[in-house]
């Protein structure tokens, strides 16, 4: 790292910015981000202003005066350059501090023991000049300003990462991470001790063995992840919005007009078939592209007992390093489409991952189910919660799957009836219900077969859903509280939805339609009875580094 000591600024920051507890008197020099960012910032700003600039050039060619556009773009470039000039950071013994802003200077100060993960994100632009963004996930990064170091030379990253994660070893404040029982004193002595361990960590980082088993051939599962369908739906929504709010802009476009004309000449059955084929093909291609771009070269490895690394990406690469003691469980995702081809994907449920990951970390992209199970149990350190037999929820829960499916069909029928009354629907469309009703029944049965839960020592397992089936394994030590929710119909059936709340992942994990007594038994077991000793033994066999 190119470091420029700026002695005077340290004091002015204390005066103008927020107070930085514990680091006031620290003489650690402030460091700047890599100067190569001076190349990245202008290009990035220009890309951002590209549409406006293109419009300006077009307008200029017909005699307009688009000078303000150039001024605006130039201003953007200057702001980008200023961002580099005004950002500096330092890592003291106790805190990580980032100072930014030109007019409103602010200093963000985070205690190092709060650091949970380091996420290295390298866009194509960054990679061209040999840089990456280092994002630091803290224990409170939900909805809070993250610590981002935009522009660190790739060669510096292992050192910086080790330096940032060094604080984890000294974390002794969190009562729920029983393994950090021996907090090291945070004084000058620990810095030298940490310094050696930092370089040791950087060395060890490369040592771990990849256990993901990812292969290029896994891209064949991409179309079944339905990410392509999601993209198409988003595009359709955008197109409809143009159509409705911009006065039919879409139908006025010549290419759309030609397409509609051509479609009008084709008989309806062929049109529907051709449309379906085109849509499926488009969704598959999009899903494939997204899969290859984000998950190519997927690797996951452990450098020591508590540090997990995940790296993936083709053009934009990401590497996450995290403190495994923040792991609160895993989720095995088997949506219907993936299950049909024997595939699954795995997420780790963690705290302190940073905003853009929402507490979920992909530890295995869509791939063969066996590989998913292997990785999930390796991350968990235990295969039993993933394979154990689940407790069923009884005949009333079974019946409720069908009544809910029937309600869905009834709503659809009511909507169709209304559409027909208003003259939007051809009577022949009712034949679709010949397919919808059996499909709803099959769905209900599959939802029933997926429904189940288990309470193992130290682990709560829940599985539900059909189209988006998930099996979630949650450490009971990470469960903060419970919500027992009962709708009117659930009360009549003696059922409840038990929701475990946690600070990790999606923050809420539910067991739907569980018999109410069983719900209370689980809450009781988890919150009252589980002795701490059992939890320690079961939850942290490999991760316990306490003497």
């Amino acid at each position: 790292m190119t470091s420029h000591p700026v002695p005077d600024d340290a004091e002015s920051a204390e005066r103008s910015g927020m107070p930085s507890p514990g680091a006031d008197a620290d003489a650690t020099p402030w460091r700047r981000l890599d100067p190569r960012m001076l190349l990245v910032h202008p290009v990035r700003e220009l890309i951002r202003y590209l549409p406006v600039l293109l419009l300006a050039v077009v307008a200029g060619s017909v005699g307009g005066e688009p000078w303000w556009t150039y001024v605006l773009s130039g201003l953007g470039v200057v702001v980008g350059l200023l961002r580099w000039v005004t950002t500096s950071y330092r890592i003291t013994d106790t805190h990580v501090q980032v100072r930014r802003g030109f007019l409103n200077r602010r200093t963000l100060s985070v205690p190092r023991e709060r650091i949970r993960s380091v996420d290295v994100d390298a866009s194509l632009l960054h990679r061209l000049v040999g840089l990456a963004v280092v994002k630091v996930g803290t224990s409170a990064s939900h909805g809070q300003d993250g610590l981002d170091f935009d522009g660190v030379a790739v060669s510096e990253i292992p050192g910086l990462r080790a330096e940032l994660l060094r604080g984890i070893e000294q974390d002794g404040t969190d009562a729920t991470a029983p393994s950090d029982a021996a907090p090291a004193p945070l004084d000058g002595g620990s810095a030298t001790r940490g310094g050696t361990s930092a370089s040791a960590m950087a060395d060890a980082e490369a040592a771990g063995r990849d256990f993901s088993g990812w292969r290029w051939s896994w891209a064949r599962f991409a179309p079944f992840t339905l990410t392509g369908v999601g993209s198409l739906l988003a595009a359709a929504f955008f197109a409809l919005q143009l159509q409705f709010f911009d006065g039919g802009l879409l139908v006025r476009l010549p290419i759309v007009r030609a397409g509609l004309d051509a479609a009008g000449r084709v008989p309806p059955v062929e049109l529907v078939l051709a449309g379906a084929i085109v849509l499926i093909a488009a969704a598959s291609v999009i899903a494939l592209a997204r899969y290859v771009l984000s998950y190519s070269g997927f690797t996951i490895w452990r450098s020591d007992a508590t540090t997990l690394h995940v790296r993936h990406g083709l053009l934009r690469t990401r590497q996450v390093t995290l403190d495994e003691r923040r792991l609160r469980g895993v989720s095995l995702n088997e949506p219907l489409s993936l299950r049909a081809v024997g595939a699954a994907s795995v997420h780790a449920i963690m705290t302190g991952l940073g905003r853009d990951r929402a507490g979920l970390l992909v530890v295995e992209p869509a791939g063969p189910r066996a590989d998913g199970m292997r990785v999930a149990s390796a991350v968990l350190g235990d295969a039993e919660p993933l394979t154990c037999e689940l407790q069923r929820h009884g005949p009333r829960a079974h019946r409720r799957r069908y009544t809910r499916a029937a309600t869905g069909v009834a709503l659809l029928a009511a909507a169709a009836l209304a559409a027909q009354a208003l003259g939007y629907l051809h009577p022949l469309a009712w034949t679709a219900f010949a397919a919808i009703v059996p499909a709803a029944c099959l769905l209900a049965e599959d939802r029933w077969r997926g429904l189940g839960h288990a309470l193992l020592p130290g682990r709560l397992v829940t599985r539900h859903g059909s189209l988006a089936r998930k099996r979630v394994v949650l450490d009971t030590a990470g469960i903060i509280g419970f919500t027992v929710r009962r709708s009117f119909f659930q009360r009549r059936a003696g059922l409840a939805t038990l929701i475990a709340t946690t600070a990790a992942g999606r923050h809420r994990y539910s067991i739907p339609d569980i018999p109410v007594d069983e719900a209370w038994r689980i809450a009781d077991e988890v919150l009252v009875r589980t002795p701490r000793a059992v939890e320690l033994a079961v939850v942290d066999p490999a991760r316990d580094s306490a003497p």
Binding site: S139, A140, H142, T173, D174, A175, T176, R326, T351, G352, A477, G478, I479, I480, G481, F482, T483, V484, R485, R486, S487, F488, R491, I499, T501, T502, A503, H507, R508, W520, A523, D524, L527, V528, T530, R532
Partner: protein
């Protein structure tokens, strides 16, 4: 600090909390619901005004439906809610039951509380009521004790704030 506080374990799980909201909660919820329905009806009337559809059957039907649902809601909901709402703070846990058609019971160990927040809106102040909300490290784990008597709420806030400060460790 005891072991139960630092680990988030509790001694006893309360299924049926004993505390009730203030009796003034019933008129409070009634007026709250009335205000909501009046706003909704005004929006419907504004739509009719803009569309100039004073005699159109769908609009009049919609208005009649709103009136019907509003009357049922306003007459049933507050009493039902009062029967359901319960709260209790034991030595090591907070337990709250709320709702009416859909009922929820929430439990959180006191060791997991992060912030204690009391809220008094305009209508709350008229009836001398306070809603106390405690949050945990989980965004899905907040507990609200609705429509407490002001004096009771002050005691609750004081007690909860005192224990919330004592206990580090919030399961992050």
């Amino acid at each position: 600090m005891t072991a139960s506080e630092s680990t988030g374990r509790i001694a006893l799980l309360v299924r049926e909390p004993s505390g009730r909201p203030s009796p003034r909660a019933v008129p409070f919820w009634t007026w709250n619901a009335i205000v909501g329905w009046v706003v909704f009806a005004c929006l419907q009337l504004a739509w009719m005004l803009i569309a100039n559809a004073w005699s159109s059957p769908p609009h009049l039907g919609g208005l009649a439906l709103t009136a019907l649902v509003a009357v049922v809601h306003v007459s049933v909901m507050p009493r039902w809610r009062y029967r359901v709402h319960r709260w209790e703070i034991t030595d090591d846990a907070v337990c709250v039951r709320s709702g009416w058609l859909t009922q929820e019971t929430r439990v959180a160990p006191i060791a997991r509380l992060q912030t204690v927040d009391s809220r008094r809106g305009f209508l709350h102040r008229i009836y001398g009521l306070t809603t106390v909300t405690v949050t945990t490290a989980s965004s899905a784990g907040a507990l609200s004790i609705h429509a407490l008597d002001d004096a009771v709420a002050r005691d609750v806030v004081a007690a909860l704030t005192a224990v919330a400060q004592q206990t580090p460790g919030d399961a992050t």
